[in-house]
Amino acid sequence: MTITAERASVIPAVRPTLPAELPAVVERTLPTGLRVLVVERTSVPLVELRLRIPFTGLGAEYAARAELLAETIFTGTARRDRVEIATAVQALGGALSTGVDADRLAIVGSALATNLNPLLAILAEVLTEPTYPDDEFSGERDRIVEDATMALSQPAVIAREALLGRMFPGHPYGSAVAQPAVLAGVSVAAVRDLHGARISPRGAILTLVGDVDPAAALDAVEAALGGWTGGEPEKMPAVPALATGPVIIVDRPGAVQTNIRLGGVALDRTEPGYPAQRLANTIFGGYFSSRLVDNIREDKGYTYSPRSSVDHYLAGSRFSVAADVATDVTGPALLEILYELGRMAVLAPSAGELEAARQYSVGTMALGSATAAGLASTLSGLAGAGIGVEYLRDHPAALTKVTAEEVLAVSGELLAPRRLVTVLVGDAAKITPAVAALNEVSSAG
């Protein structure tokens, strides 16, 4: 939408905000391979903890074992049972949780800053002396099987699985939810073996942000975790080249909406075209002020929350588009999405669009680092990709130099409809005719 000069006169100008100083990262790599990053931030008397452990592995069985390990790692150590671990963490004003994806296992925690040392002691115990008690494991496994069954009934999860399977067939990136039947077959012995082989400080990164003295915190980490040892991580295989082809429709009879998903290749953060790609994504569908939202939400009312994103993984980054639309406008909504993608690919954005996307990207990066928790997650994610804190200074600087021509060039490569794959989850009988008018259609399995 154009903002007229007359209006602009009453709209207050935005005063340039001085960027926050680059966080001072104090770093040490232990002889065992564990890399430790500490930032002192005194805004609240807390400490945030992020531990990333490389966790690559092949096959559905591996993914199921990894999932069960993440869900049961806190169920016992040589010294404490499940309830004693949880009781001890809670008494520190603390929390510890785990998550796993195809790249890494993450332990996320926080505690009152004065309790950093006991928090590290519990963490060390869990990493080096876990027991995975038989009975706790079998109970949790049954529960996770049920949990996965419920997750796989959510249309958003069905759509994500269909898209990932379409983009990365045969690769660990091809699924993000372990299948219930595979989970049910995992033994506790297999999970204990996995812990022994893969819960290793080699390639692992521990990030601490909070009201702590960095030198003392590094010493505390070395004292608590210095004895944690292990082998080298696996290498992630290269992702298969994206094979474009027909639109895949996953039938969900009676669905009142269609989940539209498109996916394609994206650039990593270290590649020269990345800043332009970030702005291209933003202009297309990366924020509320985007073309996608203007068109299919604010103009046509087809959908509530259409969006696009670029997500980074170690073996390759991805671009994706998502919109959940009423069943009877599936064809028209897909047409508009393809139109907006095509427009990105063949026409340069306006100066106003480029400037808005630039300011938004620079500004929201600063917002993301404004809390201790946000800064810890940001630094941990960057470090996992081999990127240092200077990215928080250099990337905004690079964004300020991107031209409209560069956005067009990168869009022609990465956002063009012919470079993307499409999956739809919806009532196939109702949506196929309109979709087939736009593209070749194939039904899923």
């Binding site: 709209i11 805004s43 529960r143 009312g301």
Partner: protein, 433 residues
Amino acid sequence: MTSALPSPAYPLEKVRLDNGLRVVLAPDTTAPVVAVAVHYDVGFRSEPEGRTGFAHLFEHLMFQGSEHVGKAEHPKYVQAAGGIFNGSTHPDHTDYYELLPSGALELALFLEADRMRAPKITRENLDNQIAVVQEEIRVNVMNRPYGGFPWITLPPVAFDTFPNAHNGYGDFSELEAASLQDAEDFFEKFYAPGNAVLTIAGDFTVDEAAKLVERYFGDIAARAVPERRSFAEPVRAQERRSHLVDKLAPRPALAIGYRTPDPDTELAAFLAHYLLTDVLTSGDASRLERRLVQQDRSVIGISSYVGTFGDPFDQRDPLLLTIEARHPAEAPADTILAAIDEELDKVATDGLADGELERVRARVASGLLREADDALGRALSFGAFELHRGRPEMLNELPALLSEVTGEAVAAAAAGLRAQGRSVLELRAGAAS
């Protein structure tokens, strides 16, 4: 035995403009960001019969333009300044907010003042947003398993009167019947400056912000402020049960609603209920996790919380403490209910174990600090505390208030839940495999 809990100590200033607008200023220079929030004292409990969902629809309409701001331009101004924005509709208030680099404070104040003066709503934009809201309801309720469970489906079991019992997302036919006149009336009645709170939190100076607030909001004409209605309903002595069939759900679920004490008149007892939810379901050491997940293995997941959306401090009486579980078909709801009753009875009769209250309080206090580290979280809390209780400083005072809650008070809360007629809603799995 327990050391004092660390508390936030954010400085606060309160101002009231001549038109009645309450202003809360909470400066903090940790990061070069600023949050602006406007809370209006109207939520879906106040919407008229025959217009369910209107408070939420109206929230959408507040983004459709105002005197100096065109349709969909509000988000564009905020985002082009490097900020984020949103709005949300609650039982007793509707909030609008921005988080921006600190140099964009004046812009945010201008934008909020422009729409507080009057939104500009056309028939075309109204129709467009009715369609958008319908898609929001489809994605969050109709097209997914467990959609709206239990925030939409439990209130009609727990309450008898329209304000408390009806669906705040709204009925499709009532949304479609919404007119421009409805919007005008709703704005006129509820969006008066005297019915709102403006909060600024983050990197700014009080003097400068106070001047900007006066400049942009000072000339908005005062209007009558509606009297705050009571939505009181008696606490029932008899249990009430209901069920629904969710044709998309692969496993059954259960929600139990209990009434809490009034947070305004019985704050200490209310806070004991808040801590009780952590005693019951916060982490592997909590009572119901141990009993139902680890021992009986009768649930797939369990949670408990106070307030419709899990925030105990963002609404007024009457409100619910809800326990929610999803469970395998083999574990009947009655078995789970009986186990929950037993665990509540244990808390009521035996009280808490040594150290249990201290660790739960420590975790709750550090969670509050963590939320307050975010300028936007802080602005929303200050605003809600000012709007509902007239005391934004409650954010700073909560850890101290929580440390005054005794184990006996938590036991009494558990006994109180057992003594009343709870509301039970069973979700039956229509897609069980």
